[in-house]
Structure formats: C-alpha cells, structure tokens
Symmetry: D3
Subunit: 237 residues, 6 copies
Amino acid sequence: MLSASTRDLLKQVSTATLATALFKRGLRNQFIQDVRPLNFKGENMVGPAYTLRYMPAREDLNPISVFLDRAHPQRKAVEECPEGAVFVVDSRKDARAASAGSILVTRLMVRGVAGIVTDGGFRDSPEIGELAIPSYHHRPAAPTNLTVHQAIDINVPIGCGDAPVFPGDIIVGDGEGVIVIPAHLADEIAAEAREMTAFEDFVTEKVREGRSILGLYPATDEQTKIDFAAWRAAKNR
Amino acid sequence: MLSASTRDLLKQVSTATLATALFKRGLRNQFIQDVRPLNFKGENMVGPAYTLRYMPAREDLNPISVFLDRAHPQRKAVEECPEGAVFVVDSRKDARAASAGSILVTRLMVRGVAGIVTDGGFRDSPEIGELAIPSYHHRPAAPTNLTVHQAIDINVPIGCGDAPVFPGDIIVGDGEGVIVIPAHLADEIAAEAREMTAFEDFVTEKVREGRSILGLYPATDEQTKIDFAAWRAAKNR
Amino acid sequence: MLSASTRDLLKQVSTATLATALFKRGLRNQFIQDVRPLNFKGENMVGPAYTLRYMPAREDLNPISVFLDRAHPQRKAVEECPEGAVFVVDSRKDARAASAGSILVTRLMVRGVAGIVTDGGFRDSPEIGELAIPSYHHRPAAPTNLTVHQAIDINVPIGCGDAPVFPGDIIVGDGEGVIVIPAHLADEIAAEAREMTAFEDFVTEKVREGRSILGLYPATDEQTKIDFAAWRAAKNR
Amino acid sequence: MLSASTRDLLKQVSTATLATALFKRGLRNQFIQDVRPLNFKGENMVGPAYTLRYMPAREDLNPISVFLDRAHPQRKAVEECPEGAVFVVDSRKDARAASAGSILVTRLMVRGVAGIVTDGGFRDSPEIGELAIPSYHHRPAAPTNLTVHQAIDINVPIGCGDAPVFPGDIIVGDGEGVIVIPAHLADEIAAEAREMTAFEDFVTEKVREGRSILGLYPATDEQTKIDFAAWRAAKNR
Amino acid sequence: MLSASTRDLLKQVSTATLATALFKRGLRNQFIQDVRPLNFKGENMVGPAYTLRYMPAREDLNPISVFLDRAHPQRKAVEECPEGAVFVVDSRKDARAASAGSILVTRLMVRGVAGIVTDGGFRDSPEIGELAIPSYHHRPAAPTNLTVHQAIDINVPIGCGDAPVFPGDIIVGDGEGVIVIPAHLADEIAAEAREMTAFEDFVTEKVREGRSILGLYPATDEQTKIDFAAWRAAKNR
Amino acid sequence: MLSASTRDLLKQVSTATLATALFKRGLRNQFIQDVRPLNFKGENMVGPAYTLRYMPAREDLNPISVFLDRAHPQRKAVEECPEGAVFVVDSRKDARAASAGSILVTRLMVRGVAGIVTDGGFRDSPEIGELAIPSYHHRPAAPTNLTVHQAIDINVPIGCGDAPVFPGDIIVGDGEGVIVIPAHLADEIAAEAREMTAFEDFVTEKVREGRSILGLYPATDEQTKIDFAAWRAAKNR
C-alpha cells in the first residue's frame, strides 16, 4: 500500500536521490536503464507497479484478429490496471515494435492510471507525448506490438530495463528516468529522500554562492552542519 | 508513380497506422528502425524513394579530393534526385561519420526533394533541423562521410534501418519515424489507412469520453459500428 | 596553451568543419562518438582538456562513505580543474551509473570551468541542462557513480567516446557534439576552420539562391573562386 | 505429447531443415539465436520444453542462503523437470552470470532429462561439456546465477534467444543450434523434414558428383524427380 | 589478375602480417571483423573476390518458391563464381538467418572455388566444416536466407565485416580470419609479407632462445640485422 | 604477495567456485566478461596482475615506427612484467585490432610470466594457442595494435572485461574464463574455495549416484553433513 503521504514525498524528490538511498541499502539495479520521458510535464510519476509481460511473438498466434478477443492480456490489463498504479511493461528491451499506442494510453489516462513505462517503445509517440499521463519508453516504434511481442502475463514479477519489478513496488519517474522502490522500503526511502533533498538544495545554494564542495558535500565540516540547521530553520524545511 | 491523391492521403495518416496496414498484408519489416526526425515540422514527408548506397570507405579511395570529381556518386545523386522524391541513404547503420551535411541537404531542399533519410547520421545537424525539408537520421555525426563511408551506387535496392527499400517505394515520415510502402501497394494502403485513421480518431474521441476499449477497439460491439457510422456522417469523413 | 584568439576562432566554427580539417591531416577519430548536449545554449564550448578516468567499481572500495575523503579523485578533480578548461570524463561508455551530478557540475560552473563531457551519463540531468555551463553526455543516469564507476586518475590521457584525449588537447563542443583537437594543431586548425567556414557560408548562400553544388562545392569552377573573393570583400570576412 | 516415432524422426534431421519447414508455414523466429552446443556428441537433442524464467536479481532477495529453501524455483525445477523433456531457460540473453552449473546439469542428466538450453551462460562449462546430456548456451559464465538472475517462474511461456517457447513445444538441438517446433506441428514437421532430408541427401550426392544446382535444387528439372525416385528406391529411403 | 606466384606467396603468410603491410600503406580497415573459420584445414584460402550482396528480405518477394527461378541471384552467383575465386557475401553482419547452406557450398567446392566468406552465418555449418573448401562466417544460422536476406546484386563492391571489398580484390584467410588486399597492391604486399614473415620467423626463433625483444623486434640493434642475414643464408630463405 | 601455498590452492579450484566465494563477500563483478582461453591446457593460470592500459590510438602518434623506441610502453611492459605475474591488458573491450601478437607472448612465456589476458584480441592467435603459456582474449584480431590502440600506462588500476583489476590482484584462469581476486583476500578465498571444491566434488559424486539435490546441495539435511565428513575422511581431503 502506498500511503498518500509517501506518494506526496515521492512527488518532491528526484530519481537520482532515490537511487542513492537505495544504493545505501545495497540495491544497485533499481533504475530502469535507457528509458526516457516522452514529454516530461514537471510533475513526478508515482504509483505502485502493475505489470504486463511480453514474450516473443509467434506469427500464427498473433494475427491482427487476436484483439477481437476481449480477454487478450494487453487489452485486459489496460482495463484492469488500478487507478493510481503505474503500468510497467516488460518488452525485453526490444523496441522494434510497439508496447502500446495512443488509444490504450489514453484509456489508461482516463481510468486514472498514474503513468506507463516500457523498456520497448510506443507507437503514436507524438500523441502520447501530448497526453496528461506520464509516459516513458526507449524509443518510438510504429509497428503494432503483434509484430514482435505477445502479451502473456499480467501482474507478475518482471524485468524492465534490467531492473527487477515486482507488482506493488513503488515506481517513481522524473525528467531523468524511472526508478523502482521495493514496496516494503517505500516509506523509509521517501522519508530519507526528503531529508537528502533538503540537504542537496542547501548545498546547491551554497555552491552557487561560491563555496567549495570540500567539507560541504558531504558535510565533513562541522560548520556545514550548523549552517544547514540554520538554513532549514530559515526555510522552514 | 505516386498519384497526387495518394500523396495527399499519406500526408494525413501516421506511420503507426501504415505499419498496421502493412502488417495485415504480411509485411513486418517496413519501418526504418532507430531513425528520428531532426525537427519534425508537423507535416508528413511523402515521396518515392531515390536511393544512395554507401560501402565502407577504403582510405586510398577517399581523400578529400574525391569531391573534385563532379561524377562522385554522392554529389551526382544530390543533383539528380527527382523533385518530390525522398532521398534514402543506406549507411549500414553506422553513424560514426556523416551521410550528408547541411549544404547538400539545402541543395536537395532547393531542388524540391521531399525529404532525406539515413540510417547513419548527418553533420551540421542543428542547421539541417532548421531547414524546410524533412530529415531523419540515427544521431548527429560531425565527421565527413569519407571517414567511414564511400558512396558507391545510385538508385539500387538497399537496406535502411533493417528495412528493405526499392527505388520507387513510397516513403512516409511523421513525428515518430519513417516507413516504406512497396510501390504497388501505395494506393490501397493509403486508402485503407485513411479509413483506419477515421476509425482511430473516432475511438480516441470515445475513449476520451470515458468509454472502455472493450467492444470499441476493435469494434466487436455492434453499437460501435453504429456509432462510428453516425460519427462519420456528422464529421463528414 | 590556448590563445585567446584561437579560442575566439573556435567559438565561431562547427565541429563538422573541424572534423574535416582534422581529416585532411589524417586524424579520423577525434569526434567523441555518441554524446550529445544536455541543452545547447548557442555558444560553443571551447577549452583545454582536463581529464578524469573511471575504472569499474569494486564494491568494497566504493561505499557511499568514500566521499568523506576530501582527496577522493572525483571531488579533487572538480576542485582542481583549471578555469577555462573542459572537464572530460572517461566513463568507458557505460551510462548505467552517473559520471557526475548537478552539484559537482554547478561547482565547476562557479569555478569558471568551460564545460564538461562524459561518454557515460549525468544524474540530475534536467538541472544540469539548466546550468550556464555546456555539458555533454550519452544519456541520463540517476544512480550514483559508485554503483559502477571508481574515479582513479586525474589528468592522464584517456579515451572518451572512442576518441583519444590528452590533457591540454583543445575540446570544442557545439549543438552537434564534441571534437578533440590535438594541442599542437589548435592554432592552425582554428585558422583553417575560419577560412572553411567563410567558404561554407558563401556556398550555403549560393545554394539557397539555387546554384548547383557542381563546380561550387568544392570550388572547381573558376567562377566560384571569383565569386567567393567578391563575397568576402562585400561581407568583410 | 511427443510420440516415439516423431522423436525418432527428429533425431535424424537438422535444425536447418526444420527451420525451412517452419518457414513454409510462416514461422520465422523459431531458431534460438546465438546459442551453441558446449560439446555436440553427434546425436540430436529432442524433447518437449519445460521452462524456467529468470528475472533480474534484486540483491536483498538473492543472498547465497536462498538455496537453503528447497522450494527455490531453480532447484524445484531441476527436480521436477520430466524425464525426456528439454529444460529451457529464459535468461534474458544475459550471460554475465550463470543460468546453471554442473551439479544441477548432472542432476538433470541423471533424472533422464533430454537436454538443457539457456540464452545466458553456464558455469562449470568445461565439466558440463563432458556430461552425457546435450547442453546449449551463449557463453561460459562463472558467477553464480544470484549475481544477476532470480528464478521466478516454472513452466510458463518464455522467450529464449528471441524465440517464443511454450511449455510442451518440441525442442530440437543439433551441432548448429536449437529450434522450437510448436507442439501441434511436431508430427507433420517431423514427417516433412524426413522427406526434405532424403531429398537434400540425394542432392548433396549429385552435387558432389558434379551436377549443377540449377534444375536440381529445387527440382525444377523433370529428370531430377525421376532420378530422386530412383535414388530413394535404391537407397530404400 | 592474381598471378600464380603471388598466390603461392599468400599461401605462406598470415593475415596478421598482411594487416601490418597494409597498415604501412595507410589501409586500416581491410580485416573482415568478427568472422572465423568453420574448421581451418591448415592451408590459407587465397583468391580474387567474387561478391554477393544481400539486402533485407521483404516477405512477399521471398517465399520459398523464389528458388524455382534459375536466375535467382544467389543460385546464379553460385554457378557463375569463377574457379579460384573467393565468394564473399555482404550479409549486413546479420546472422539471424543463413547466407548459404552446405549444398551451395559443396557446389562451390566442386566448381573449384577457393573459399567462401560471409559476415552473417551458414546453415548446415557442421557439414560445411567438413568440406574441403575454406569457409568463414560469424556464427551458425539455421534459418533459410529468405527469412532475413534477399540476394540482390552480384559482383558489385560491398562491405563485409566492416571491410570494403571490391570484386577482384585478393582475399586471404588463415586460422585467424580473413583480410582483403586491394587488387593493385597484391603483388607488392605479397612480396613484402614474405620478407616480413622470414624476419618474424627469425625473431620467434631468437625469442624462444631467450633473447629480449628490445633491439631485436624491430631490428634496432645492428647485430640483429647481421644475425638475420646469417640466418637467412643458413635457412636459404 | 602470492604465497606458494595459495598459488597451489588456486591451481586446484574453478573460477566458478571462486566467483561464489567472492559473491559471499559482496563482490559481484570480478569475473572478466566475455574472454575465453585460446587453448586451455588443463592447468589453471594463477598469478598477481601486472597491467597495461591502452587508450584509443591517434594516427599521428602511432605510425609503425613507434616500436623503434625501446621505451614504448607495450614493449617495455613485456620486458618488465615480473616472472610469475599475469599480464592483464585493458583494451576497452575493442577487438578490432590486436592487443599483442605471438612474438610478444612468446617473450612473456620465455620470461616466466604466468599468463596473459586481454578484453580485446590477439593476432597470430593460432600460434599463441600452441604456446605453453595460458592466454585469454575476446576474439582473434589480425590488425596491429597501432590501428586502434595506444599503450599508455603500465601497472595502473584498469578495467578488463568490465572487472576492476588492481596491480597485484590475484588472477585465476581456467577452462571457463578469468577471475580477479583482490590481493588482500587471496589467502582466505583460496582456503575457502578448497573447502567448497571438496564439498562440490562430494556432491557431484552423490548426484551421479542418483541422489536428489534437495537437502544435499546446499547441505540442509543433517545426513549430508555426516556423509560429507565420512567422504572427506575416506578420500583424505
């Protein structure tokens, strides 16, 4: 369960800061590699993972007519992904064909889904970039998913961009990319990231003022800690 | 021959829609993989393919002085590519050196060429992105083509981004990428894509209004077909 | 030593033109492959190279606490990189983790460093893209450098994007990418590039006016040389 | 169900011949790409697929102690894979760590499993190459699977070397590689491949005798058909 | 034209030595990258290049029935490749499907062709490895060429493993790989390589006897030159 | 310092076992990725690392004449690498040109060097495979190193096949590949690997006898521990 307060905290921090908090706990592979926002709107994507797994398409099982079946996993997943969740697709890092197109992504948006990520590509990517739902992929891919991918499993553990993703893990996306926070760590990571972000904002301000990073970042000078405490008080953070 | 009406139709549809129309005919590899517009201006690139084939450069055959020869294939091709055609370059997916630069692309623009595509890279890419001619490549590449490529054949069948391209095939580029329509299919694909686009626009509107994709996309509900007919009549499409 | 006049000349020419000047001297691999500007501001990055070399990280040597050491090579390099230099990082073309983040890049900016290039990735890349210092990388990378990289050597000869970089080589970046000019050639390359740029500007103007490239580019027609001389006189170039 | 007669037929034909038989039915991606036998013993591997799916390893879930759990999917799969089946592993084409080692493969051999394939790598590969069980991988990989892989699913549809593999599909391996025959096609493909192999053997003999391939392969000359019929009669094939 | 004496010389030298002789003339990319012998028999492959160019296959143009056409370029090339030539195939470095199989390679062997090279893969590779004709590829590939490749041009300039190959260039293969000697340089390169090989054999003998490489290789010590002259006299080389 | 007893132990264990011992200590990236023995002779390569670092070659600094300089780092390193050490080369995973050839490797052999590893390729690889010195590379590479590589540093920390290598780290190679043991851990890792190897040999014997791996590997059954103790006593291990 993702609490409202943790969700709010995760809206305010960067994937870089989260990556460091995870690194401190020995988790080195939580950043989804080589995906990018189609058009970052300035607000972080945050939500629990709901997953779709693709396998390589076999031609006889993937004619265009498969979508006549309302139980087709891709369509079913789009209709069942919970409001507030992030739809994460394992496309085996293969962007030769699409993971989804603008109609399905629009449907996810209308249904209140928090975002969509694939380690493959989207078709209709210019249209998807205009939608009010965060979206991340590797690169545009016009061909229908059936060309290369067969949707096979819903909400199972997957890989996405070489990162492990379990259903319910908390997914955060910003202008840089997407990171996966194991569900049980979400609250503590969010809290820690807020603290780290306050310190980084303080450091950035001091660096802009001309201070050296030595002793400042990390705060090995005692004075840094004093200054930071004063800054927090002044900024009410 | 690309008729004016087919050209017009292809200006109004997406490479994603065209990819599906081709997929239905068993053609799965017509999307040029991993190229992108330098700066999409909002209007599709459409025209028959005119091709240039590069092979790996041998140093003794590719000093800077080769361009003193007016019959050099790269220069000859730029001067001979027909008005309205799309100049498609087989760079063997190698963007370590340029396929062309802004002067040649400007010349193509002035000569009325409809666009240029390479599965390598352009040099002077920021300038090319400003020109009023659509251009697509893999990534910027400042080194002169002679560094890696030797222009060797004009208007022969080639590969571009793993897609087969025959001279005269109809090339369409949008904000997503570039697709190759076999010449003999251009008219029927264009007509079918117009129909598909009308339906997709209808579906998008309904999805935005909150309708589920089940029964709507594809139109397995009879009501969908009725609604679409009404929509077309109302929209005059 | 980079003279002020050479620096000025290099601000006015493109990496494409420089690549050709280097090619004429037999130097084919000076363009740093597959890096791009985070947000090109319109002015070239120019400066002598100051280098940092990363090796693969061994986990026991790279806990987060290493930054408590003020002599850590990454931090030391950031504080010691000379004003006006370009900070060039050998990240072994591995962007799974960051080469640097916004705080260090801000510090470089404040210290007057001319720019930063890595063949890996930056974290906090959206923030870095806003800074008034040119920056080039392969792709965004949120994870801390310690995840994959260990800073090991300062200001030694390195590879960056398959190009050789010696400390003191002159680095030039534009909207297309980054090129490395061997230190001893900087003055003559800059002078030659200015001449080439004048000619290219002339050619571009003529091509826009409708002239064929044959005889014009290169100037195999005697008339071209005459026209160019007149153009230079008129333009005072 | 794989009948004994089909198994026998598949022991006598090559993956190349099977690939052509599948191609004729529109199945183009059934060859497992980029795996090779550790030490082909001269007899084809044949059996129905039993699958194991790996996902990327998360460090906290994959300490060495996980193997203390007898229900760990990797170990469970090794004990439950049916006699006569081929154990097929989806390692996401990642050979940085092992898919299995010699002890598990020995156990599979002793249990009567027909072979093992991974699109990653084996550890103890020299020992595995000595075992009397066919084995195929991408390349040797000494690190324990936990380093990169987490076993997550048993006997679900997977991808292996970009080929789709459904449990029960018939897997055939020879000195060249491994191919996947959809279960429902196994009998007819086997029968057709036997016929094709007879013809190919005839053709090879004729070509060795000096005959041109034109008219012979394929048999567009009427005489070829007559000769082949005679050859079959003489050879009792 | 490849003279008998040059052919004989090229049988006795290595691709490594030839690569150095070419490097001295500024030719750096003549080694065909990433191909290997299927089963080196101890004697170099030597002959002029006869080329076949593949482009990406379009499905409608590449049904299995295309081979019914005796003029199909692949079959035509196999029948027309001159005796003594090396058949070099441009497969765009794509080994997902075969460049050729054992029947065609057997035909080439019977016809007296000197060898075959592809930067893709062969099917029936175990059988090809047994034939008395040198063969080189990237890796085994069971699927028929039609799956991915369409033969399109015979005996045109091509790329093979990133090396430029012109018809008539002299191709040499040894246990290490394959190199391309521009036709006009074949005699002088062969003569120089013979001299280099004599010296390398002398050096190897001396190194085995315990001499340092300094002063020996290259022969910067005057004594080395004296010793080499004596060695040549004694060895009659 | 590598003691004789540790060296002896490391001769008797596999890189797979060592990888697990390192994994238990949190070291996951010590296996040199994607290198293979040229011709494994049955005895492990063991010795402390002596390193050579290559950077990309700049053409003007790398004519064939550089070897006239006896202080050239490649030649110097070959003459100075200590007896018993393993010569490890950082070739930036680039096998387009050689890291070394047979003459230099012969010299290393004669000088008593324990082995050589590169993440690039060797030239004269068939000859090197015949030498009585263990050698590992990615793939054969006939072109002289000067084509792509410039030797720049001797005995500094490097990367090799994505693994960190510090001078003095203990390098072990077997029929599978090569692993890097941090110097300070060599004794304890060797001792632990001997124990693990005894247990694995026991387990292999039992598995061959038909025992299930459950309870046996790892030894979660008490009986397994008892049996192993008896086996060790009987085998005197």
